[in-house]
């Protein structure tokens, strides 16, 4: 018990500074394909933390911190910087038609405040007054192509088609919870920055802050090719669907549960995680008494889906912080789940050696 406790004390802690960084990351606007704002924060945070930092042709930030000992395992950790959002496509006088970028349910849009363009101009997505609708009409989803982003006629001159927009929600800490618009996946980005700060000396640490995850895992693909790691871990955020069922019955489907710790992936739409890495994470959690949960196998995916198919194959696993209401105006996550995710990966890296790849994949 004593060594376990001692080890726990080295775990990087989520404190004021880390939450402040998450707040800045969550409030920044970085719709897939235009990740500049988050990239700028990341670059400033990591400039003294890595030996080699570059921005590649797609806008990924690739940061390598060399191992201090040999032989070192090359480990890639990936967290995507981009978020779902909108692109203005047509309009004038401050009223803009828009398209969604990444998976957004059209039912989440009407009546929401948004931020538009590089200057974060305020805007709203309105809806027809209830007075002008019929009961039948109200049962149907309002399609995206009839909705408009309204920034007002004056600011209309400062923006144009092609600009991006996101939900306007500001980050808040409420009791045990963290609330923000883009915690998918700024939680992963913030975790990766902390891990880079506290990376173990025996690992060749390859941090990839990736782009375009939400439109097809595109950044991770070229990042993994370039870094050519021996194994990889994708850090992401995954939905917690553990709400009550309409009839009060036990629901067999929830994806993950809030307060149950980091979610470890076995199978999703894009990846069958490497069993050697799953076992390593489960062992780590047990050794250090870190709560964790298995994400329910099913759809969805992470950067791991692109990473493991690069070159001659890369063993991968994904770990996510669970969060409710992903891809809407506000995601709710728990500070404890985030802390436990950081602790799990921190210890998993500390205890990782080349021996993990000696047995063949089962």
């Amino acid at each position: 018990m004593t060594p376990k406790k001692a080890a726990l004390s080295q775990v990087p802690k989520i404190e004021k500074a880390q939450i402040a960084l998450l707040e800045r990351l969550s409030n920044a606007v970085a719709v897939s394909g235009a990740e500049g704002e988050v990239r700028k924060i990341v670059m400033a945070e990591i400039k003294d933390l890595a030996d080699d930092i570059k921005v590649d042709a797609l806008g990924n930030v690739l940061a390598v911190k060399h191992a201090k000992t040999e032989p070192a395992l090359k480990v890639m950790l990936a967290a995507h910087m981009d978020e779902v959002g909108f692109m203005l496509v047509d309009g004038e006088d401050g009223l803009y038609e828009f398209e969604t970028v990444g998976g957004i349910d059209a039912r989440q849009l009407p009546g929401k405040p948004v931020l538009v363009g590089k200057d974060h101009l305020p805007g709203v997505i309105g809806a027809k007054p209830i007075h002008h609708t019929t009961a039948d009409e109200r049962r149907n989803v309002i399609p995206v192509d009839v909705l408009r982003i309204d920034v007002g006629n004056e600011n209309g001159k400062k923006i144009h088609a092609g600009d991006r927009a996101t939900f306007a929600t500001r980050f808040q800490r409420i009791g045990p919870s963290l609330v923000g618009k883009a915690l998918d996946n700024r939680l992963g980005v913030a975790t990766l920055i902390e891990l880079l700060r506290h990376s173990p000396a025996h690992i060749e640490f390859q941090a990839a802050f990736t782009v375009q995850e939400e439109v097809g895992l595109r950044g991770a693909r070229v990042a993994a090719y370039a870094l050519n790691p021996q194994l990889a871990i994708a850090l992401d955020s995954t939905p917690a669907g553990d709400l009550p069922r309409w009839d009060g019955e036990e629901s067999p489907r929830y994806n993950t549960k809030l307060d149950a710790g980091p979610a470890i992936y076995v199978a999703d739409q894009g990846t069958l995680s490497d069993p050697r890495l799953i076992q390593h994470l489960l062992r780590t959690a047990e050794t250090y008494g870190i709560p964790c949960q298995m994400r329910q196998p099913g759809g969805g995916g992470t950067d791991a889906g692109a990473i493991h198919k690069q070159r001659a194959g890369i063993p991968v696993v994904s770990v996510s912080v669970p969060g409710r209401y992903a891809h809407t105006a506000a995601l709710v996550a728990r500070l404890d789940d985030w802390q436990h995710t950081l602790a799990l990966i921190f210890h998993a890296l500390q205890d990782l050696t080349p021996a993990i790849l000696e047995p063949d994949r089962s």
């Binding site: 394909g33 235009a34 042709a57 496509v89 047509d90 038609e97 398209e99 092609g162």
Partner: protein
């Protein structure tokens, strides 16, 4: 422009369906031969023309990718001398009944897509609605025994439509998607004969775009360009098509793509250049994917900064697509002038707007 139009009409008259691009590739190669220093064919059939830059080695490399494959059909079965078929690329079955085609059997056979009467079809294919592709036939006019001798499963069926001069500027025909862009790249190579450029230019007529972006995934892996431009057709405004942000007037200029597939610094450069050349152009907004070779090229190996140029085209994926020659030559000119401006500073200056 008259010569370019003749070349375009020549390649429009040839088949070259996805994975079967040989006939059209040979003619493009012949046209490019005098315009480039080296010509080669990739392992899966893309045509590579290299025009070397004039500067001390090593040269930076610019890739121009225009897919040469076209859509068409393939024989899946023979019943009483009539041919069942499936599509290669995406075809709306509604354009097919009554279309003249060529069946590429042991010899080329003229054929005609026929729609059987409702009483020969299942109930859900009733009169007055669209008949699914799987119930259509191609009739070659030959008797069953002869068809069995000449045609087998997997034989290709291409559109037989010859190119039509609608006006002196507008051309109609099949496979203008994307032979129009092959013509634009050819125009660029022609212009490069007269202007100095320091970068190597790799002109690629790519294969299998319509099916798997086959050429676009593979040729850049071999060439490893520093920059790439995908040239493809885009939607011209036409009767029945949406009048929104994603359709463009025909003959009023090429489009410059904007979205995740495009490097923002390249977008800025092309836009500035088009304005400097006093050339009309339109923003082609691609909020998600571009639907062009750039989707693949951008994520080849360690990633390649990409641009997408579009040539507006009406009636995409029919046998009577329409395009404006002016838009084609403008696209070629824009590419050539962009290449002329590439120098040792281009890559260091290719920055993200958040980089100081």
């Amino acid at each position: 422009m008259a010569e370019l139009k003749e070349f375009l009409k020549k390649i429009l008259s040839l088949p070259g369906l996805s994975a079967y691009e040989d006939p059209v590739r040979e003619v493009i190669a012949e046209e490019w031969q005098p315009l480039v220093d080296e010509i080669s064919v990739s392992r899966i059939g893309s045509l590579h023309g290299l025009k070397r830059g004039e500067a001390a080695e090593p040269h930076r490399r610019m890739l121009l990718s225009a897919h040469m494959d076209g859509i068409g059909m393939m024989v899946t079965g023979i019943e009483d001398g009539l041919l069942r078929f499936t599509e290669i690329g995406g075809i709306d079955a509604r354009i097919l009944p009554g279309t003249l085609v060529t069946v590429h059997g042991r010899r080329e056979l003229p054929g005609y897509v026929v729609q059987p009467p409702a009483w020969l079809l299942p109930d859900d294919q009733a009169s007055g609605r669209t008949v699914d592709m799987k119930y259509l036939f191609v009739d070659t006019g030959l008797r069953s025994a002869e068809v069995s001798d000449l045609v087998r499963i997997g034989d290709l069926i291409s559109f037989a439509q010859s190119p039509i001069d609608l006006t002196s500027d507008w051309v109609a025909g099949h496979s203008l998607d994307n032979r129009a862009s092959v013509a634009a790249v050819t125009a660029c190579l022609q212009e490069l004969q007269r202007i100095r450029h320091t970068w190597d230019v790799w002109a690629v007529a790519s294969v299998q775009e319509e099916e798997v972006l086959g050429g676009a995934f593979t040729s850049p892996f071999e060439i490893r360009p520093d920059l790439a431009v995908a040239i493809d057709v885009t939607f011209a405004r036409s009767p029945g098509s949406p009048a929104g942000y994603n359709t463009f007037p025909l003959g009023k200029g090429a489009t410059i793509g904007w979205g995740p597939n495009i490097h923002p610094a390249l977008y800025e450069s092309f836009k500035t250049l088009a304005d400097r050349l006093d050339m009309p152009w339109h923003d082609d907004l691609m909020p998600r994917m571009s639907g062009t070779d750039a989707m693949a090229i951008q994520v080849v190996a360690e990633g390649i900064p990409c641009m997408v140029l579009g040539i507006p085209l009406r009636y995409m994926h029919t046998a009577v697509e329409v395009v404006s020659m002016k838009d084609i030559t403008r696209t070629g000119h824009l590419l050539a002038q962009f290449i002329a401006g590439l120098d040792a500073d281009t890559m260091p200056n290719l920055r993200w707007d958040d980089e100081s």
